[in-house]
Symmetry: D2
Subunit: 349 residues, 4 copies
């Protein structure tokens, strides 16, 4: 029996949406129906130039988008009503996904939400290597944010294998995305999140309830990649090699090294561009090998990694689609399939 490809629409063609759309195109068991949005700027025009069908997320935006030079193929609601979509990946701005949910429910369409939505919108918060099976067959799932995803990969891996008693992670966030850096950036400053803990710790617990974690966050004066500095207390004594072994065996984590000249987030961005992937994307979480340290008593691990804020959740989105549509029932099969399609690797250089 030949299985028909699952029909996917991406609602919201921003930083995440455009990357999800491209990743869907690369899957042999998924088919991109198109993307929907509400504006007609260069970003949407580039989708069109690539041959992607563009729809209006809201009927009242059709005229404006047409006037702006976009050939609108119809509205999101009409698409859903006509049964042309199996799964919507909702990449609209934070809190908008929650509003869209009723539309997906109305037509019985499955939906993947992003980390800008609250956990309750989907009921399941998702990181493939941690809880893929929990989302199997569900109508909705939420792929957590880039920061939470990275924490779940790294600290979650340590927790699963070595037993974490208390994790503390400080996040130096990129301030805004590249495209919006001409308007809403920060300059020559650091802007701390004064509410402690920052939302990332509790958010990681929606994926890994048993993880005891506290996070603090601040925005730095840069617009690419977050930096995470982790201090992880363990239930038992470990050696540096134990930590390395865990991270080596976890998918979507790679090592970089200061001794190879990888000095900062800028170096990692240069590496990611040298990989030759579209947009210079980095789906993996690069951990500085030479930052991995253990306290004298062997009970606390320190390590530093970069979180590729634009792209590390892209493979999770693909896995999330596979989980809720039951295209694959096993996390490792889905991860392997996704990683092969996107050329996710375990060694950058």
């Amino acid at each position: 029996m030949v299985r028909t490809a699952v029909k996917v629409l991406v609602n919201g063609y921003g930083v995440i949406g455009k990357r999800v759309a491209d990743a869907v195109i690369k899957q042999d068991d998924l088919k991109l129906v198109g993307i929907s949005d509400v504006v007609a700027d260069w970003r949407v025009k580039m989708a069109q130039a690539k041959g992607i069908n563009v729809y209006a997320s809201l009927p009242e935006k059709v005229d404006e988008m047409k006037k702006g030079g976009v050939q609108v193929h119809g509205t999101l609601e009409n698409l859903l009503r006509d049964g042309d979509v199996d799964v919507v990946v909702d990449c609209t701005p934070a809190k908008v996904g929650a509003k869209n949910k009723s539309l997906y429910e109305k037509y019985g369409i499955k939906g993947v939400f992003q980390g800008g939505e609250r956990h309750e919108v989907a009921g399941i918060s998702f990181v493939a290597q941690r809880n893929y099976e929990d989302a199997l067959g569900k109508q909705f799932v939420r792929v957590v944010s880039c920061n939470t995803t990275a924490i779940c990969r790294v600290v979650g891996g340590l927790h699963e294998r070595l037993g974490v008693s208390k994790a503390r992670v400080v996040i130096i966030r990129r301030a805004v995305d590249v495209w919006e850096s001409s308007r809403t950036g920060i300059m020559n400053t650091v802007v701390p999140e004064l509410h402690i803990p920052s939302h990332h710790g509790p958010d990681a617990q929606t994926v890994i309830p048993s993880l005891n974690i506290t996070t603090l966050a601040a925005k730095g004066s840069h617009n690419l990649y977050h930096l995470h500095m982790a201090m992880v207390e363990l239930k038992n004594q470990v050696r540096v090699e134990d930590v390395i072994n865990v991270l080596e065996s976890e998918p979507r984590i790679v090592f970089v090294s200061g001794s190879d000249g990888v000095e900062g987030l800028n170096s990692i961005f240069e590496i990611s561009r040298d990989l030759g992937r579209s947009r210079g994307d980095l789906y993996e979480v690069p951990v500085w090998y030479d930052s991995i340290s253990v306290s004298h008593d062997g009970k606390e691990v320190y390590l530093i990694w970069a979180t590729p804020n634009e792209s590390n959740v892209i493979p999770e989105n693909i896995d999330a689609i596979r989980s809720i549509t039951e295209l694959e029932s096993n996390r490792f099969n889905s991860i392997k399939k996704t990683d092969t399609s996107l050329n996710v690797i375990k060694k950058l250089y």
Copy 2:
């Protein structure tokens, strides 16, 4: 008769060198023999990971590079001596190319130098659409810098078609490259070039001797793309449409528009990444369509463009190889061939 591909070695695997290497690989009439360098950091290791042969530019660096984890295939001089190379594209740091020249002369190897070398090193300074034929069959040619290339494309086009009496261009330079932004950057400042005119004006005259031009330059607190603001006095009255017509007919120039949401260099970088090319490269010079203005008397044109400092000279390097090896005798044939191979376009979106 089947013509054998020209054998190319790239000496210096930095910002320009790695891009030239990748571009050479994409040409059906060129063959990349390998790259040579003097270090063993992540950059060289990535070349190796891509399957490119790595050589030592200097014999005394072989041991250090091997120790650093690079499989060194031999030395540059041995390669040249053994006749395994037809053309070296010298992408070593500024002024190092001049020192390398005697080595190329010793073995009668053709060489393409970059804009960091003085004009006299090669004798011919090159921008394909301006003076391709001047380099035909020569031993050496110098591809001018990103800034000079952009000026020669845009102002050179206006000069050729409309007649420039006096051009003034102010260049707001990116301060340093991404990879070195963890060491030698500038912060929250603008650093002017106090020597006026800056070297770019006289450099453009090495390509277009009849061009009357003065340039001023300053480094801005950003690390990607230069911004050029041009004030061009013409010999005759023109209208905005005349300028647009010239720029539309010139290769490697594209339009972007503030009305499409293209607000700054950051927007253009986002566009370039959305093109899906390796590293988010932009070979074209994007001119802001809505910046093009003409003075009341019709005798002065104003316009603003971005200069993609990492990549706009890459197609020129390919054309330069073709010119000195006489693979193509006509500029338009070479430009077309290069642009097809690199997917250079006339419309970004």
Copy 3:
């Protein structure tokens, strides 16, 4: 006869307002009645902590300001009605001054507006050393923006003394002010003003109608000081010494030099802080001595200066008050008095 000090209120306690307030306090012929504003953040609380009386610019803000911890002494309108103010220096955000004008007219109060208002709001645009006498006794005057002020000082001086036939100035602007750099900044980009000429050229003509000038502008990724790069065509041949002589004799212009290690805007900010003035203010326009150049034919001058965006208009505001209140009838007397009080100097080091 002892003349009573002119009673001044500063409406709007932002970047300019707080500096004008402090400058007024230093004048023996002016008396600061207080400041008025609409919020109760740390900025207004610092005015209060300094012992300055705080008023509410709008009656509906009184309660909110009190609740926020500010002791509100009354409303702006009550102050004006009761005859407690001779001059309002309106430093409210751009375009708000125009709305406030009717209030000042209602009570016959004189007003000084800032460069964020259109020329027509006051009818006279003011730079002390260019047109002090034009504002004598008038009800309203507009101190032009920092950029326009700097142009009028430097290019205006050249025009008055050497005769400018055509000036071109490119302005690399600081993107936003320090206090707002946690919200509305730009990052790793340059954002050009696509409308050419930028408003600065025509604005300079409101002060110096005979000046033929075109300006282009772009925002740079820094938050302190603008950089101006000027290309000035003259009616007659000049030598570099002629330019230096003009600038040496003009008030509020100083020299800095690359050969003394003054490399960029950052160096000038460090110098300005070393002067020991409040806030590290710089009232003078520092011109790079070693940037001053003359074209081969002696008919075009090139030079580069920094424009201290927060503070170079402060002395102009004081002079503007003296002009409209006729405290001094001669520009040089007022400039001298102001400059002595603020310690404005002709030699930084």
Copy 4:
């Protein structure tokens, strides 16, 4: 008996040296003999313009400095030999102080070193409110770095009063100083210190040996102020009010609040400039009041503060001079005297 003022020379007129010099001038029990340096750039010329005597730190630099336009009053060694100096405050670059030590020993001159020197150079590392008395009468003392000073003030205060079992502090450092931001900055990146713990933790222990502390550090893309994010485990349960009480009673710590609009380091810099002190200096450590949090079990405290890297060690330098010269035997007397002279306050607004 009238006590003669202690004669102080500042060796090294950089970011710290120039501030120490100005602070010494403000003390009635100290007298600034002059400053010594090795260059003749604008910085040294500004000292001269202020009327400060300039000496050459090295005899071989005399000619060069004179040629550069500085009136050199003599050499450092001659000054020391002739008995004209009681204390040298050595503010030369890191590791240079260690070399200078033998000169001070040769002439039996007391010396204050900075945090760029190792603890062993002086044998006593100093933060006034922690260990003033330890330095009484000693020949040498080392004022620890800005970061260590801030940690000793804040975490040291908590430790002394509430009992710290384990402190973890993450430091987001300013990358370089303002004056050098045109050369050696970082751009659009974060550069982590890969060696964990960073040196700050062990350095704090040179002042407070009983403090159990681990620090991690990274350079951010800004050039003013460090940001510290602290997670402090306590021996006993505490409430937020307990922490506030401790910090309120400690000298040289102040509160700022996000609810007053203090959003980031930029806001604090604006506040510091509004204080009207020379250079916009901030001697106090501003702690975000609304960041102070306590874990559910009451055993861990979280808080965030800014470290004014240029100026928070200035009062410590003055106290250090008083301690080694025994001008005051009690820490509180010295701190009070210093703070009065520098206008150090407990409430910013």
